[in-house]
Amino acid sequence: MADLMKIRARFKDGVTEVKILMGHPMETGRRKTDAGDVVPAHFIQLVTATLNGKTVLEAQWGTGVSKNPYLTFRLRNARLGDKITVSWHDNRGESNSIEAAVEAA
């Protein structure tokens, strides 16, 4: 799941709805394995979305976001074909990003 990232940006009635799925374990640092070992915290801390290179959404997350995070947001100034990029960074310095063009719903 580590590399998985999915995005869909659909324009309808003047509003673009962006849905993103990020493959990530989102470990809180409190979970124990069957052997009783604590699994170290490993979670996404920052998510940034841009529209044609301009920041539209900046999210900070704690450990309470579910595993393999799902996120929806909406833009009112995007047009068909505009480029949306979403990237995340986690507490271990790992990151990933994905890009999509706005399409008709």
């Binding site: 809180t28 409190r30 997350w61 704690g62 309470g64 976001v65 579910s66 799902y70 996120l71 929806t72």
Partner: protein, 147 residues
């Protein structure tokens, strides 16, 4: 002697340049707010001052969640000038879940999936200008999901 000082400076600059991406991230992430074990501490970390109750935030969350590991929360602010939305779960080990900041034409709207340790109020805080608004909803959790 001069060369030595110059070299030291160069080394320090190089080290800083190498470290800066991580350090910059660490500086952005609101550690105090997210690691607080109390709602009050989280709000303090977010620099939230006076909070007014409102009916202009739509919070859609289930009345009953079978599995606390995945609870879908939908938030829409109808407060003019909304800049950010914070989502907290009062009874989670660390209550602050997420903080979203909107700009350049992003609607103050978000759907996100969160973990809930037990039955709790889900609290949403909206910032608009220098004012803060809040709405809460109780979500019953059958099986806690905060591991």
């Amino acid at each position: 002697m001069h060369r030595r000082i110059w070299l030291k400076g160069l080394l320090a600059a190089t080290a800083l340049a190498l470290l800066s991406p991580l350090r910059a991230l660490a500086a952005i992430w609101n550690k105090a707010a997210f690691e607080s074990e109390k709602v009050d501490g989280a709000l303090k970390g977010l620099a939230v001052t006076h909070i007014d109750p409102t009916k202009d935030i739509v919070l859609i969350a289930p009345d009953m969640a079978e599995n606390g590991a995945i609870v879908q929360i939908e938030v829409e602010s109808r407060i003019p000038g909304t800049e950010s939305i914070a989502i907290l779960v009062e009874k989670n080990p660390t209550p602050l879940i997420a903080h979203y900041v909107f700009s350049n034409g992003a609607e103050p709207y978000v759907i996100t999936r969160i973990k809930m340790a037990e039955t709790s109020e889900v609290k949403v805080i909206v910032k608009a200008g220098n004012a803060y608004f809040s709405i809460s909803k109780l979500v019953n959790v059958a099986i806690g999901g905060c591991n």
